[in-house]
Every structure is written in C-alpha cells, then in structure tokens.
C-alpha cells in the first residue's frame, strides 16, 4: 500500500552536530533508488519528469517530504554562516521570478493543505503553513519581498537549485542556491558554462557524455521537464558537504568502522530535474538530496543486494572521485550478508 508523503508529520531533526536525522519506514520505501541494474554503469539516462508513481518521490513534480521543515532550518543556518551559497548574476533576476512562480504553483497545486497561492494580476498572496509564512507581494517587484525572488523561494524548497542561462548554444551557471551540495562550490563555478563546471568529473568527457547531455538539455521545452538520478555516499546525514567546509567534515570520512557502518554511512541520492523557464528562457536545475543509511537499505533486500554489487563493480577512479576510498570495503563487507548471489528483479523499485 503506497503511503503518501502527506500522511507523515514533519520531523524535528538535525543534519549536523548530533545528527538526529532519521527516515520513517514509509520514507525509505519512497526513495528514488538510483540503480536499475546489478552493476555500475555511468550513463546520463535522462527521462521525462512526469507520471508520478504513487508512493514514490516522483509522485509530485516538486517533492515535499517529512524532512522539509528541518531541511529548511539547516539551509538558514548555512546561509547565516556563508551567504555566498546563494548567488545570482544581475541578468538572472527574471529567471528568479520564473523560479518563484514555478515552485509556488507546483506546491500549491500538489499540496493544497500546506501551501496556497492566490493571484490577482501581479498582486500575489503566498501561504506556506509548515513554515508559518504568509506573504503578500507584487510579482516582478523585488522591493515587496524580504529577499530576491530566487533566494526567497529556495529558502522554502528542499534541494539545491541552479539556474542556467542559455546563450551561444551553451548553458551558463549564472545563479543558484547551493547549501546541500556534494562537493562543488557555486561561488567558484558561478558564471561557468556547462563544460567548464563539469571539468573535474573524470571519464565522462572522453566518452562524449557531456556533449550529448548538453544537446538534450537545450531541447527541454516548457511543459516538458526532464529528470535523472545521480548518487554518491556521505558519512553522517550531513546535507552541507561543501568544499568550503571540507576541512571540517573531511575527517569524518575516516570514522567508518564495521561496527558503525550500518547507521553512519549513507547512500546520497540526487534527484535532478530540468525545467525550461518561460519568461527568461533559462533552465532551472533542482538537485534534491535523499539519504538512505546502509541499515535503511537493508530493509529492502533488493536494494541492499544492488548496492553491494554496484560498490563491487565501481571503477576505482569513480570511487575516488566520489570520495569512497576510506570506507568502500567496509560497506561491501557489511552489505555482503544480504547478497544471496541470485539475480534481482528488473527495475529500481522494491519487490
């Protein structure tokens, strides 16, 4: 029986210090598990972002789950420490308004019990009940909001958001809200084009993967968003694994032991979606992060088996790039108890 995210209360939890983050069993089952095969294969695997399967993270175009309120508190803490995690070059303000409209309308349509948007021409009224926000403002007039439109709305939306300007047959990272990143810096990458900001990713350039991916992204039209999944692993449920703070969280990479691996090591799934924005012709690129601990994975035998096999077949350079070298073997050993050696059923979903 599929459980909707709407049936679960918002959890009070932390993503730093005492790390009280926890998934309820229902939230584990609705995670967008990224492996649809028993071995690792790098691929872009873009598909249209629609037809939400009930009881999965794809149910709503912009997913809101039990971690929403606590994730937004963590974002506010990151921004207090380092305001450079939100940036927008001057020509991206219109794209900020487009983003605000998209997120507000999506949320109000999908979750009317939590969010509402009332429009009277350019006079808009936004209510976000989980966060206790009630805001009247004029669409297009920055002086009527407490923050610039992109910052305002992404302080109320889970996941990182990159806004890409399209020019000269390329995409440019010209605005973003990035506080839950897997090891890249918006402050450094802002203003770069698609190939420049992907430069540090090994192997994929030689295979022409990024050229094909760019061509696909440029073809994305309004009304037809696309998505893909990416993944890495993180020690502790730490959202803010930024390079900025690497010297602070880096030591935790060496803290995994056979005793603590089940609860301290997390599969970090990124649900990336791609939306053409109407007025600015920019692309919005939300990157939503889902954590599953190794113990969470073990509650779904197929997923634990898959994870075991993917870690075993991962090329060493990819493992290093993802930063798994310190604990990959420990994770493989722990997961081996769930792998019966038999083939798993097709597709990513639980049996």
């Amino acid at each position: 029986m599929a459980t909707s995210a709407k049936d679960l209360p918002f959890r009070e939890e932390t993503f730093r210090d005492d790390f009280t983050f926890k998934n309820s069993p229902e939230t584990v089952l609705r995670a967008p598990f990224p492996f649809d095969k028993d071995s690792y294969m790098y691929a872009v695997n873009m598909e249209l972002h629609r037809d939400g399967r009930p009881g999965t993270a794809y149910e709503a175009p912009i997913d809101v789950d039990e971690h929403y309120v606590s994730e937004m508190k963590d974002r506010a803490l990151v921004l207090d420490e380092d305001p450079l995690r939100y940036q927008s070059l001057p020509h991206m303000t219109l794209a900020g308004w487009d983003t605000l409209e998209l997120l507000m309308t999506c949320k109000a349509e999908t979750y009317p019990e939590w969010f509402s948007l009332t429009r009277d021409g350019d006079n808009w009224h936004w209510v976000n009940r989980p966060m206790g926000i009630d805001q009247h403002f004029v669409f297009g007039d920055e002086s009527t909001l407490p923050y610039a439109p992109l910052e305002y709305i992404t302080r109320q939306a889970q996941g990182d958001f990159c806004v890409l300007d399209e020019r000269d047959g390329n995409l440019w990272m010209d605005a973003g809200m990035v506080t839950t990143q897997a090891d890249w810096s918006l402050d450094f990458d802002i203003g770069m084009n698609f190939f420049e900001w992907h430069a540090p990713v090994p192997l994929a350039h030689e295979k022409g993967i990024f050229k094909r991916a760019l061509k696909y992204l440029l073809s994305i039209q309004q009304g037809n968003p696309a998505r893909r999944l990416n993944w890495t692993m993180t020690v502790n449920p730490r959202l803010d694994t930024s390079p900025e703070n690497y010297h602070i969280w880096g030591p935790e990479n060496t803290h995994i032991t056979p005793e603590n691996v089940a609860d301290k090591l997390f599969l970090r799934i990124e649900l990336q979606s791609f939306w053409r924005l109407p007025r600015s012709n920019a692309l919005l690129f939300p990157i939503r992060c889902y954590f599953l601990s190794m113990r969470d994975l073990s509650t779904v035998p197929k997923w634990a088996t898959r994870m075991h096999r993917v870690l075993q077949t991962l090329p060493p350079e990819i493992a290093s790039y993802k930063g798994l070298d310190n604990y990959r073997e420990i994770a493989i050993n722990w997961l081996s108890q769930f792998d019966d050696g038999k083939p798993t059923s097709e597709g990513p979903h639980p049996d």
């Binding site: 219109l94 020019r167 073809s219 039209q221 009304g223 037809n224 007025r279 600015s280």
Partner: protein, 320 residues
C-alpha cells in the same frame, strides 16, 4: 506532438494585415491562461491538411506578458509546400488547433547594455515580442526595419507610436537602405545585434559584423529554412525497421511521423540541431537545406537534418 505535451487552442481571430500577411490569434481551448514566454520564441503549429499533418514554426509576435492571446503573423508563400497557404485559406475563427509550447532559438542576451535589431519584411514578428519585453524592463534598444514598400511594412505605424526615435524604417521603393557599416562600427562595447529577415540580409549582417570585429556570440539571427518541395523518394529506417515514402510536398521528418516513428525536433527549420540523424547508407545525393551541419559534416555524407533536407538517388538508410 507525439511524445511532448502540447497546447489545445482555439483560433479567436484572423485579421488581414495587408495583401500578403494575415495575423492569427489563439487562446487556450479551456479558457485557462497560456504559458508566458520569452521574446523571440516560436510555436510549432500543427495543421491537419487532408491526410497530411504539417507542423510549421512561426514566431510569436504578441507580448510575452499576455497569457490570454498568442499572435502570429504569416506571410502567404505561393511557392511553398502549403503551410502558409493552409493557414491563409483554411484557418478560420473558431477552429480548434494544436500548438507546441513556445521554444526560443532567438533569445535576447539579457546581459547586453544595448540591443541593435535589424528586421526585414515579415522578419519583424519576433522583434515585436522582444520589444514588449524590453520596454517592460527598461532595456536599451534600437530597431531598423526595412520593407519593400509602405503597404508591406506591416505594423510600422504602431511601432512609430510605441518607439518614437528608437525606430528607423526603410522602404526599398523609396531607395532607403539600412547603413549597416555605419551602425556596426558605432555601437558601445557589449552591444548585441539581432537580425531576422530574408536570407541575403542575414548573410550580409553576419558578414559585415565579422568584418568589423564582432564576436559571433554577439550576433544573433533567426533563420528558419523552409522545407522545400521536391521529387518523392524512399527512405529506409533501420532502427524502426521501416521503409517510408517521402511525398513531393512532405519533409522526411513529416514522413517519419506519418509512419509512427518518433523523431525529436524543436524548430523544424534546420536551425536547432535536434533532429540530426546518422546516415548509414547513401547511394545518391543528400540535398542539405539546413543551417545546422558544418561543411565537413555535409561532406562526410554521414549526417542529415530530416526536417528540411531531401534526397535524390537509389538508396538511403537512416539510423532512426
């Protein structure tokens, strides 16, 4: 439009603009707002012309902020394959039609301190939408618009009212010519130039701006090729395992769609690159009509753009 979501619309008005141009107005069939768009965007209009489905791109000319009423202006082309003739002769107020979501291959560069625009004839239409956008954001621009004569200079009166000194109109029959060299050598750093009009005008602006040292990235043009009519031919589609006939007034892309083969596209005018297809075997001549492939790609005989290009010969096998 096969895989992608499209919009159900109703023709709310058809207005005769002059002896060659008609303007078509669309609203959403269910009365809800149409999507906002960006100046320079086009829509692909789907036309059920007897047994044939045509899909032709036209620039949106209405204000991008107007979500109740999309407008396109279409010049009648008596020599073409029939898209404009269908619109002129068959489309009437009240008809239901399907259009694609707006897509933009002729976007303003929002960083530009100034936009210099050159329009020729019906090429005025994307600029009309862009101008609404720039006026709203206090953008800095000037528009140079040339037409054959006053009668065919569609919308020049409205533009004069709206733009004042920012508009410069030139009529061929009064020997008025745009002085491209003077304009291209006097623009402040960071200016972007945009041109939409007849092919020779576009070529001229590309060539003169390069001669004056403008970087390519500052030169924008909307150049939809028209899929020309031609002799019928046969194409084998290897992946789909089909053999299809391409009719005299049909493009390869349309023939694929008619055969139920899903092929990607955005502009259907040889400009966007999305329908680029690998040629597996070719015994004959590919007739390239697009603006996408590089010379070496054409010479290789390995690529073709099925939205506009044709084939003459005995055997063509495509990877589709």
């Amino acid at each position: 439009m096969s895989m992608l979501a499209s919009l159900d619309v109703v023709v709310t008005d058809v207005v005769t603009v002059n002896s060659l141009i008609k303007r078509f107005h669309f609203a959403r069939a269910d009365g809800s707002p149409l999507p906002a768009f960006s100046g320079g965007a086009h829509i692909v209009i789907e036309m059920q012309d007897g047994d044939t489905i045509r899909r032709t791109p036209y620039s949106l000319m209405s204000s991008p902020l107007n979500t109740q009423d999309y407008q396109v202006s279409i010049r009648r082309d008596d020599e073409g394959r029939g898209g404009s003739l269908f619109m002129h002769n068959k489309v009437t107020k009240g008809m239901s039609m399907k259009i694609g979501y707006p897509a933009n291959l002729f976007s303003l560069d929002k960083r530009a301190p100034k936009h210099l625009m050159f329009a020729g004839g019906i090429g005025i239409t994307p600029f009309l939408a862009q101008i609404h956008q720039l006026i709203k954001t206090n953008g800095n621009f000037e528009l140079h618009y040339s037409a054959r004569n006053e009668e065919l200079g569609a919308y020049s009166e409205e533009l004069k009212q709206l733009l004042g000194h920012r508009l410069h109109v030139y009529y061929d029959d009064q020997d008025q010519r745009i002085d491209f060299d003077a304009l291209l050598s006097s623009q402040p750093t960071g200016t972007h130039v945009y041109v939409c009009g007849p092919a020779p005008m576009i070529e001229h602006v590309i060539q003169r701006s390069a001669a004056h040292g403008w970087p390519d990235a500052h030169v924008h043009f909307e150049h939809f090729a028209k899929a020309p009519p031609g002799e019928a031919f046969t194409v084998e589609l290897q992946t789909s395992n089909k053999k299809i006939e391409v009719g005299e007034n049909q493009s390869m892309l349309e023939a694929m769609e008619a055969a139920g083969v899903d092929a990607p596209y955005l502009c259907r005018g040889g400009a966007c690159g999305q329908c680029e297809t690998n040629v597996l075997e070719c015994d004959g001549n590919l007739q390239h009509e697009d603006h996408w492939l590089e010379d070496d790609e054409r010479a290789s005989g390995k690529k073709v753009m099925p939205c506009v290009s044709r084939f003459k010969g005995s055997r063509l096998v495509l990877d589709r």
